[in-house]
């Protein structure tokens, strides 16, 4: 009997080891440990044993059962793990296939430039001022020291609606309005972005509608050197720390002295190339000390207050910064163009 049990144990363990899947294993469990299994059968024969042998044999039978059960359990674990692995293997994917695209649009390049400039000046304590695109002749010209008949009005041929109303030719009227609102008191530190309009035929370098950003600082002790320092900060942040600036005298009716700012050419590093017309410098913006007539007209005492102003064209800056070769791209809105300006920089 004892031998029979040992035999059964060995037989069962062998079968367990050979079983290939959970079903076979379960069949083995039922076969050996079930109520109709051989161990139960062996135990039925215990009645023939002596009282001393019975508990011994009972213990042995339990041992055998236990051993078989342990073996089954461990085999089952193994089989389950294998089944999981197999399932996972069957679930494998080609990770090189493209992902589901997330459609994201982006700023128009001009907005991108404008916001970049806004943020730069906001960081220096400026506020963003806006004003109407259709303006009175007074704010667009007269308040900016451009009385009627001034020869410089030729420089900016304008779209008039009536004799006194026109599409603004620059964002300077926002400055005039802001100064007027401050009623002769400082300080003012603003930048004014917006659309402006001039009677130009649209071609690669001209557009009848374009953007402008102007800045204005008015206070009791604003100097030309402050303008120079401010523009340098702007140029280095906008175009790179390695860029140099230079100021050249120029003329604008609303500033005196007036200057133009150049930055050193990135392409040739200053030695001269086609982009900088062999000069090593690229013109970026116009600026100057606010003309006393402009201050006085807005109600400021020009003996006490001084100020500086500057203005630039986002189109030109975008063209220089990104190498865009035709201003019309900005207004055609070809998505293949706009898309190129999505990258964060």
């Amino acid at each position: 009997m004892q031998e029979r049990l040992k035999e059964l144990q060995e037989e069962a363990i062998q079968k367990i080891e050979q079983s290939a899947n959970l079903k076979e294993l379960n069949d083995i469990r039922v076969a050996y440990l079930g109520k109709k299994g051989p161990i139960t059968e062996v135990l039925r024969g215990m009645g023939k044993l002596s009282a001393e042998e019975r508990p011994v044999m009972g213990a042995l039978a339990n041992e055998v059962r236990e051993a078989i059960a342990v073996k089954i359990e461990s085999k089952q674990k193994g089989l389950e793990e294998a089944a999981v692995l197999e399932k996972l293997a069957s679930e494998s994917i080609d990770v090189t296939l493209p992902g589901r695209p997330v459609k994201v649009g982006n700023h128009h390049p001009l907005t991108r430039i404008i916001e970049e400039i806004e943020d730069l000046f906001i960081g220096m304590g400026y506020q963003v001022a806006e004003g109407p695109e259709v303006e009175q002749d007074y704010y667009n010209f007269e308040a900016l020291n451009l009385p009627k008949g001034h020869p410089a009005r030729d420089m900016q041929d304008s779209f008039y609606i009536t004799e006194e109303i026109l599409l603004r030719t620059h964002t300077s009227p926002v400055q005039a309005r802001t100064m007027e609102k401050h009623q002769g008191k400082g300080p003012i530190k603003i930048i004014c972005p917006g659309k402006v309009y001039r009677r130009d035929n649209d071609d690669a370098t001209h557009s009848h509608q374009f953007m402008q950003i102007e800045g204005l600082v008015v206070g009791e002790n604003i100097r030309m050197s402050d303008l120079k320092g401010t523009l340098e900060v702007f140029a280095k942040k906008m175009f790179g720390e390695d860029r140099e600036i230079r100021l050249r005298p120029s003329f604008f009716p609303f500033t005196e002295p007036s200057v133009e700012m150049d930055i050193s050419c990135k392409i040739c590093g200053g030695s001269g190339c086609n982009v900088c017309k062999q000069t090593g410098w690229i013109e970026i913006l116009g600026a100057g000390m606010v003309h006393p007539n402009v201050l006085e007209m807005a109600g400021y005492d020009s003996k006490k207050y001084t100020g500086f102003a500057f203005g630039m064209g986002p189109e030109r800056i975008a063209m220089l910064k990104y190498g865009v070769d035709d201003i019309r791209h900005f207004y055609t809105n070809d998505v293949r163009f706009i898309k190129q300006f999505s990258k964060h920089e």
Binding site: F159, R199, N221, S225, P257
Partner: protein, 804 residues
């Protein structure tokens, strides 16, 4: 203004300063030099040749076979195609081995069987612009004066061994519209002297006043008129050096008298006019305003109709010149002219501008008057011209001049303190520095304590106020030497306004939702201006549009965005999502500024999303676009304040359009473009929206406040309702929410069926209702009670029955 480097040396010593260096210095101290042109760049091997023989080419009608002495012993044979080549001429010859502009190398050649060892050149072949070449040589080769030396450098003789600086002048620096003006500027920059041109001459004993009398009726327009008389002139070509200088400056030579007036225009910046005295038909010059409708033929043979705004020079009766603009055909100098009346005058800029603008006659002369000439240079310019006419046209200059002079010339006297100069510039200059700068400019100064008083010469009419002096100091001291500082004093907070911040949020959101930002034109056509306009207003039209296409200010953005869609679709960008923010312009009546309202518009077409290899595709439809707007309103906290109401909007699909209502106010619309308009624009199904961004950004959103997260479970009941087709889900939702309050927290549509299994005119719509009590767990019974109430209300108010 074109400035010849060689010519400039007549007035200022340029030793040790190359043209390029000079250009850099001029640019940095005030006048931008746009470029320096090296006139003989890329040209070599061109000499003066003498045409010894010329005969017809045996095999070609239009070619000549020439034998030339080019100063190298044996004469050379050259085949020439110019019609004007002739024996005995001195001409420019590009020898074999020479190089002409465009890297054109001259080689030995055979032309129609005849050997050609070089090329006889026209001026354009030597790199000169056709429009400056004298008329007689414009169709052929240039002919040198007979005394030109054979074999010498032809380019040097043509003054092409020179460099020309192109000055870009701002309106305040009209003084630099002359060689002398530039000379003063350069002298100030270099700290050197100015040498004035020769004008001394032996005048005849006859008096100019015996020949002509000058009367000026319009003294305000013409405060100074000087008429000089030159007799016995011989009209002929001007000297070659003068012709070449004119050509380098962009002016075509004509004859000695006309060339001299043009030469003085360039040298002094003073326009002059030469009349043929004998053709004037009187001994009188009368300057007056023209009569309205008065006719006058200018020397370009165009008849002009004048008005009382135009200033004319007359012979006492009829006009002989449009003052400062153009002379008349009736008194023009011709090859027969012997007596010249030379006009040197000061005309008011405004009068000249009006005439030149009205007649489209912008010229070198009119431009100078318009910008203002130096009143003190009018007479010297006349003297200098007379001197040159005596020297180069054989003229006899009569003594004096007939003139009217009511011009009061007072130089500007301006005082400024050193402290102000330093305060404005941020510099630490001393008085000596400032004095030296004005000395270089040849401005006279007097100093008293901290104050310097400057008298500016009349040629510098731009110097008027203290700031002008500050500018002179700044530019000659050098902007490079001004320190870099940042503004000090009370600071201002740098920030965006709430409106500006929210606008950025909207842009970011829309781009995150897949839309690209477009920027289109505000000006459009009459037809497009009012399409999709949300308010009926008069259109605002430009007084002088450049084209009908861009003549009216837009009342809506969508027409332009649809153009963008069309443009992109035509270039295979079929799936497109764009938006724009910008002003639309609402008229308030003439002579008042319009209302500018910031709008937001968007257009979407094609696929909303797709994942090709997984076979996913979703086309844009109404609900895609609506979802995007809903997201935007949620972002701005306005969800509860916005409604969409089915509506008819012109240009939009009648069944697929809603107006957007914000707090009871109609602020925009959303929907599909009307199929007929889609067809017209060649668009596929396109969904759009346009709304007042201003209204959206200015709307008050509820303040952000934490709301406790429900601690008790919710109970969800789904219902499928059968309703009339016209019943909209919004109405049903409203009924459900009202009847289910307060336990009903959420209602969602989860199914819609309008198929043929439904009874005619009916549809099935299914809602998911979520009941929650924040204080406790709801029982089924409680929910059922409320739910029954909801169903009752649906049936009563919308005839909705549960789908069986």
């Amino acid at each position: 203004m074109f400035v010849s480097y060689k010519w400039l040396q007549d007035y200022v010593d340029l030793t040790g300063v190359t043209a390029a260096e000079l250009a850099e210095k001029i640019t940095k101290s005030g006048i931008e030099v746009e470029g320096v042109e090296i006139l003989n760049e890329g040209i070599k091997g061109v000499v003066v040749g003498h045409v010894l023989e010329r005969e017809q080419h045996p095999n070609a009608d239009k070619l000549s076979k020439c034998l030339l002495d080019v100063g190298e012993g044996e004469p050379v044979q050259i085949i020439c195609g110019a019609p004007n080549v002739a024996q005995g001429q001195k001409v420019a010859v590009a020898k074999v081995g020479a190089v002409l502009p465009g890297n054109f190398k001259i080689k030995k050649a055979k032309l129609r069987g005849e050997e050609s060892n070089g090329m006889i050149c026209s001026l354009t072949e030597l790199g000169m612009e056709g429009k400056v070449v004298p008329k007689e040589y414009s169709e052929g080769i240039f002919v040198f004066p007979a005394n030109a030396e054979v074999g010498t450098d032809a380019l040097a003789l043509l003054n092409r061994d020179d460099e020309v600086l192109e000055l870009s002048l701002t309106p305040n620096r009209a003084d630099a519209l002359s060689m002398l003006g530039v000379a003063y500027e350069v002298a100030a920059i270099l700290g050197r002297d100015v040498k004035l041109p020769e004008t001394d001459l032996q005048a005849s004993t006859e008096k100019a006043t015996d020949y002509v009398k000058v009367i000026v009726d319009a003294k305000e327009d013409n405060p100074l008129y000087v008429a000089k008389m030159i007799k016995n002139v011989k009209i002929g070509p001007s000297p070659l050096w003068m012709q070449t200088r004119l050509m380098s400056a962009g002016i075509r030579p004509h004859n000695n008298v006309v060339d001299i007036t043009n030469y003085i225009l360039l040298e002094y910046g003073q326009p002059l006019h030469a009349f043929d005295y004998d053709r004037l038909g009187s001994k009188e010059i009368l300057v007056r305003r023209a009569a309205d409708g008065e006719k006058f033929v200018t020397l370009d043979d165009v008849e002009r109709t004048l008005t009382a705004d135009h200033l004319v020079i007359t012979n006492g009766v009829e006009p002989v010149a449009l003052a400062g603009v153009m002379g008349g055909a009736n008194s023009e100098v011709t090859s027969d002219t012997t007596t010249v009346l030379l006009e040197a005058a000061y005309f008011n800029g405004a009068a000249v501008r009006k005439a030149s603008k009205d007649h489209g006659l912008r010229s070198e002369a009119s431009a100078r008057f318009e910008k203002g000439v130096d009143p003190n240079r009018v007479r010297p310019a006349g003297e200098r011209a007379a001197y040159l006419m005596a020297k180069y046209a054989g003229g006899e200059v009569l003594e004096g001049a007939a003139e009217v002079d009511t011009l009061t010339v007072e130089p500007a006297v301006v005082s400024i303190t050193l402290e102000k100069i330093n305060r404005v510039l941020g510099t630490e200059l001393v008085m000596k520095d400032v004095e030296e700068i004005f000395a270089r400019l040849q401005f006279s100064v007097s100093v008293e304590g901290d104050t310097i008083t400057v008298t500016a010469p009349t040629r510098r009419g731009d110097i008027k106020i203290e700031e002008d002096l500050v500018e002179e100091v700044a530019r000659l001291y050098g902007y490079d030497n001004i320190p870099k500082t940042l503004p000090i004093g009370s600071s201002t907070p740098g920030r965006l306004s709430a409106y500006q911040k929210k606008r950025r949020v909207v842009r970011q959101y829309l781009e995150g939702a897949g839309l690209y930002q477009a920027v289109t034109y505000s000006l459009t056509s009459e037809e497009k201006a009012t399409q999709f306009a949300m308010e009926k207003r008069d259109t605002i039209r430009l007084a002088m549009p450049m084209s009908e296409e861009r003549s009216i200010l837009r009342l809506s953005i969508l027409p332009q965005l649809l153009e963008v869609v069309k443009y992109n679709s035509a270039r295979q960008n079929d799936s497109l999502a764009v938006y724009e923010t910008g002003a639309v312009f609402l008229s308030n009546g003439t002579d008042v500024l319009p209302v500018e309202k910031e709008h937001l518009a968007g257009a979407m077409t094609g696929l909303w999303h797709s994942h090709s290899w997984q076979g996913e595709k979703k086309a844009v439809d109404f609900f895609v676009v609506k979802g995007i707007l809903e997201g935007m309103f949620a972002k701005l906290g306005l969800s509860e304040q916005v409604e969409y109401v089915q509506a008819q909007v012109e240009g939009m699909h009648p069944g697929r359009t809603a107006v957007i209502v914000l707090n009871g106010e109609k602020i925009g619309f959303i929907g599909q473009v009307h199929p007929s308009m889609q067809k017209e624009l060649d668009l596929k199904d396109t969904y759009v929206f346009e709304l007042s961004l201003k209204a959206v950004l200015e709307a008050d959103a509820p303040v952000l406040q934490y709301e406790s997260i429900p601690r008790f479970p919710s109970i969800t009941r789904d219902i499928a309702l059968v309703v009339n087709r016209e019943t909209v889900s919004g109405t049903l939702k409203e009924i459900i929410l009202t009847a289910g309050a307060p336990l009903l927290k959420e209602v969602q549509v989860f199914d819609l069926y309008e198929g043929d299994k439904m009874e005619e005119g009916k549809k099935s719509i299914a809602f998911s209702l979520k009941y929650v009590d924040p204080e406790r767990t709801l029982t089924d019974e409680e929910v059922t009670k409320v739910h029954e109430k909801v169903l009752g209300a649906l049936e009563e108010k919308a005839g909705a029955v549960l789908r069986g």
